[in-house]
Point group: C2
Chain length 113, copies 2
DNA sequence: TGGAAATGCCTCTGAATCTTATGTATCTTT
DNA sequence: AAAGATACATAAGATTCAGAGGCATTTCCA
C-alpha cells in the first residue's frame, strides 16, 4: 500500500527534521532514499516536494548547509541548527499527540510497531 | 495544544467518514461540535473547510443528503451510502497503517489512548 | 565501449486543500 | 432588545504537494 498523498501532507517537515536529528548531516537525495528504506516504499518523497521544503527550512534558520565535492559532483549537506533541534523535538511531540487524538477519534487500536 | 493546521490536512475526509459511520446521520454544524468535543478542542473544523468537503463527498456518491425542517430552520443531514461505508473502512485502515509507519519513522512509542 | 540506470541538484505549473472573511437567517438566552 | 448560538453557504488567498521537466556526472552491465 502506498499512502494517498493527502495523508503525507503536513508531515514532510516533521520527517525531515527527525532524520536530521538522528543523522547530524544528510543530503537531499539521501533523504529520499532513507525514507523509502525506512517505510518499505510506502512513503515516497518526491524531489519536487523535498527540495522546496529543505530550502524553506534553511530560510527559517532551522538548518544550515554545507557543500561537499565528490570529484565533479556536488552534494549539499543539511544539518540542524540549535533552533532546528528544538523544533524537531516539538514537531515530533506534536505529531505523537496528534496520533493519540486521532486514535481516539477513529477508535483505532495502536499497533505496537 | 491546538494542532497546527498542516497536520490536519488530509485527515478531514477520514474524520467525517468515521463520524458518519458511527452515527448514521449527522448535519454539518453537528459534526464541527462533535469533533471539538471528542478532541477536547484540539482539532477545530472550520465551516469553510467542512462544507466544501461534505459537498465533495456527496459529488463522489459517498454520502446522501436529506433536509429536515425544524420550524423555519433547515438542517441538512448527511448519511453514508453503501460505497461510503466501504470507503470509510478503507480510509480508517489506511490511516491506521500510516500511523504505524510514522511511528517507526519517528521512533514514537504509541500511547495507548 | 556504449547506453541505461542511478546519483544529485533544481524549478515550475497545476491541483488540491485549508483558513479567513463574509453573508444570510433563525432561535435562545439574558 | 441585543448578544450569542445555531445553521447553512461561498469566495479569495495561502500553503503545500505531485508531476513533469531540465541538467550534469557516475556506475554498471551487456
Amino acid at each position: 500500500m502506498i499512502f494517498s498523498s493527502e495523508l503525507i501532507k503536513g508531515t514532510l517537515k516533521t520527517i525531515v527534521l527527525k532524520l536530521l536529528a538522528d543523522n547530524s548531516k544528510m543530503y537531499g537525495y539521501e533523504i529520499t532514499q532513507r525514507v523509502k528504506e525506512l517505510t518499505g516504499d510506502r512513503i515516497q518523497l518526491t524531489e519536487g516536494a523535498l527540495y522546496p521544503t529543505l530550502h524553506a527550512l534553511e530560510q527559517e534558520g532551522l538548518v544550515t548547509t554545507e557543500l561537499e565535492y565528490m570529484g565533479k559532483r556536488v552534494r549539499k549537506y543539511y544539518k540542524l541548527s540549535p533552533s532546528g533541534k528544538s523544533r524537531s523535538k516539538e514537531r515530533i511531540t506534536e505529531f505523537a499527540e496528534f496520533m493519540s487524538t486521532m486514535s481516539v477519534l477513529l477508535n483505532i487500536q495502536p499497533k505496537t510497531a
